[in-house]
Amino acid sequence: MELRFSDAERAFRQEVRDFLAAELPAATREHMLRGKGPTKEMVVEWQRKLNAKGWATPEWPVEWGGPGWTPAQKYIFREELQMWPAPQPLAFNVNMCGPVVIEFGTEAQKKRFLPRMANLDDWWCQGFSEPGAGSDLAGLKTRAVRDGDHYVINGQKTWTTLAQHADWIFVLARTNPEAKKQEGISFFLVDMKTPGITVRPIVTIEGGHEVNEVFFDDVRVPAENLVGEENKGWDCAKFLLGNERFGQARVGASRERIRRLKTIARETYDNGRPLIEDPEFRRQMTEMEVELKALEMTVMRVIANETKRAGTGKPDPATSVLKIKGTEIQQGVSELLMKAAGPYAWVDGDPDAEGVNEWEVAPDWAFGLAGIYFNWRKQSIYGGSNEIQRNIMAKAFLGL
């Protein structure tokens, strides 16, 4: 047993910090310190810097431009970005679609798409969920019908995150409606500029525009954009979903939010004294810190397991803990942040927008805290709801 990071790993952490300090625009950090998601421009600018450094695609093999990091290095990199905070490399490109193309794609597809994904020349989005296929993803109805050297896609995708920025979309569509539901699905790469694609924004409860509906109306996709074999798309989907082993734990992000919470709780008064001195509030905050420490150690176990067994061992039950606990902690911290702001969390809108805080109706830091709380309720729903995660655990690990 060796439960600490090695000297080399600690040196690597410092190297990441130095790079962040030197290269991340201060405005991006400031923006994200307020808990706001980075803008498209911020993400693109930062990913290109990472790509120039060779760090944009931590999960990719060296052959396709990956840095050749160990699981521990990947974790350190991810965590440092979360704590700084800085944008992560765009997940749709580098964690989702890229690995699928590397695993299942043709040489031509790899050469054509991977370098542009890495440099964020193309922004990708995910066309999986449908109005009738959420937790039961394999029940999707979008159809793709072969027509000469094209497929014609008709149907509707939903919850498509940041489709408004996207140049390309990876799509699961049904190519054989007769087969068992998992066996008639194919995986396509589709140019968002293709005629017949319509993107309609969905505004979520906090007022933000992250997700969209994407409609496909006789969209003609060249057959060369099919990834893997026809009707084998479910393998790609399973591979993609299984790749996210510790992405959802977001330990660094939660630690950054707790730090912020502590700062706020010192400046906020409750019952005539700083909120941080209130025993009840402090206990609630401490509970989160303890849970986070346990989660951090669980992440370490998953990393160590990956390092040693690199996919050969049987799945580690610790893995399934990460999504459920990671999202519960993030949601819990977002609730405490809102609570800390008290009534000032209620001002709707963006403090940076013209005129919103002209009269200083609330301290700048309080803006958006309720919004984040509302928005983060999504975390236990997406990526396989936490209830679906428990179903998976019951089957895969408990033998029930």
Binding site: K262, S320, V321, E387, L400
Partner: protein, 379 residues
């Protein structure tokens, strides 16, 4: 980072597992509990033979040089069988005081006897008013001749009825709740003025009320000893974490097995989603607890007292909640059968319940950690 066992750790685990599987079935345990001393001298001798009792001591002192990882490993196996022998009180607590508080001559006198299974040690700290505050000490120690004389009563002394030696906290200076001035003494159980009255605790282990009426100490381990006490107790908390993980793992598996075989409404109850999700939540708790037990082993070795204390508070909070949840739910998912004395689950639940509150319950440690500023530094 590597959470796997090395070769000698694997060997240790294998031989201990073998011993306990052979000698610590549920029926064996019942028999040991019903015996006069409440545990098995025979099994104890086999622990000694296996090297368990000398494990954490340095080779110079007659031990095997094991560290926190080895103690964690042993503790987990002890938890898996909810053993009754005084391993925790003698080796973890008593041994901890010898390793961190005793002069070389005293170690050389006692360690071989502990390692050989001939010397049993208890830690007598609890007082009627002190609850979980180890510095709240009314018992006194005064100098007499060249030595010390102890006066006072200690309660809930784990294995205090069979111990050959008591490590006792007694006030040398200051007032009852001062951190300064708490001495730590080693008193032979046979010394004049020492009276122990044994009883069984709810989890099946033995404890005693021990009275020190002008008892002469054999030696003083520290005159201002709270740092020493913290050091030893923090290692003990790591061992308790291992024990809890072992017990939780077993009772969780027991629950799953029952869910697969118990049939109601024409199918195994494990097919019902409400119960599956509860079992999944138990797994989450067991895994998070296991993660935290590794952290405990590492953190308990930190020489920085304040940092170490904060970490160990966190360990107790995480483990305490897990123990409570897993214990309660194992009873609930079984249903009535787990309420019976003849079924094992209830015994694990009881051990987990005592484990949660040992050296401070979840509330105590959560408050202490919150008061100490938590684990994460403000921005």
């Amino acid at each position: 980072m590597d959470f796997d066992l090395n070769e000698s750790q694997s060997l240790l685990k294998d031989s201990l597992t073998k011993l306990l599987s052979a000698r610590y079935g549920f029926e064996d345990r019942k028999r040991y509990m019903a015996s006069a001393e409440g545990w098995s001298r025979e099994v104890w001798a086999q622990y000694a033979e296996l090297g368990l009792l000398g494990l954490p001591f340095s080779e110079d002192d007659g031990g095997f040089g094991g560290g926190a990882e080895e103690t964690l490993l042993v503790a987990e196996q002890m938890g898996r069988h909810i053993t009754l022998e005084p391993w925790f009180s003698t080796v973890v607590l008593g041994g901890g005081f010898l390793r961190h508080g005793a002069e070389a001559s005293l170690r050389q006198e006692l360690v071989p006897a502990v390692a050989g299974g001939e010397a049993l040690i208890s830690f007598a700290f609890q007082e009627r008013q002190s609850r979980y505050d180890l510095h709240d000490v009314a018992a006194t120690a005064r100098r007499q001749g060249g030595g010390w004389v102890i006066e006072g009563r200690k309660g809930m002394v784990l294995h205090g009825d069979t111990a050959d030696w008591h490590v006792v906290t007694a006030r040398v200076a200051g007032s009852q709740r001062d951190r300064a001035g708490v001495g730590v003494f080693l008193v032979p159980a046979k010394a004049q003025g020492v009276n122990a009255r044994g009883f069984r605790q709810v989890d099946g282990t033995r404890a005693a009320e021990v009275e020190f009426a002008g008892a002469a100490a054999h030696s003083c381990l520290a005159e201002d000893g709270m740092d020493l006490v913290d050091r030893v107790v923090d290692e003990a908390i790591a061992a308790l974490a291992g024990e809890a993980v072992g017990a939780m793992d077993v009772v969780h598996t027991m629950t799953l097995d029952y869910m697969k075989t118990r049939t109601q409404f024409g199918k195994p109850i494990g097919t019902f989603q409400a119960l599956q999700h509860r079992a999944a939540d138990m797994l989450i708790q067991v895994e998070q607890a296991r993660s935290m037990s590794y952290f405990a082993a590492m953190a308990s070795q930190n020489a920085d007292r304040l940092e170490r204390r904060r970490d160990m508070h966190a360990v107790k909070v995480q483990l305490g909640r897990a123990a409570r949840f897993v214990g309660q739910q194992s009873i609930q998912l079984h249903g009535g059968i787990a309420m019976t004395m003849e079924y094992a689950a209830g015994h694990y639940f009881k051990r987990l319940t005592v484990n949660e509150a040992a050296f401070g319950d979840t509330d105590h440690h959560l408050r202490a950690l919150a008061d100490a500023g938590g684990l994460v530094q403000a921005a």
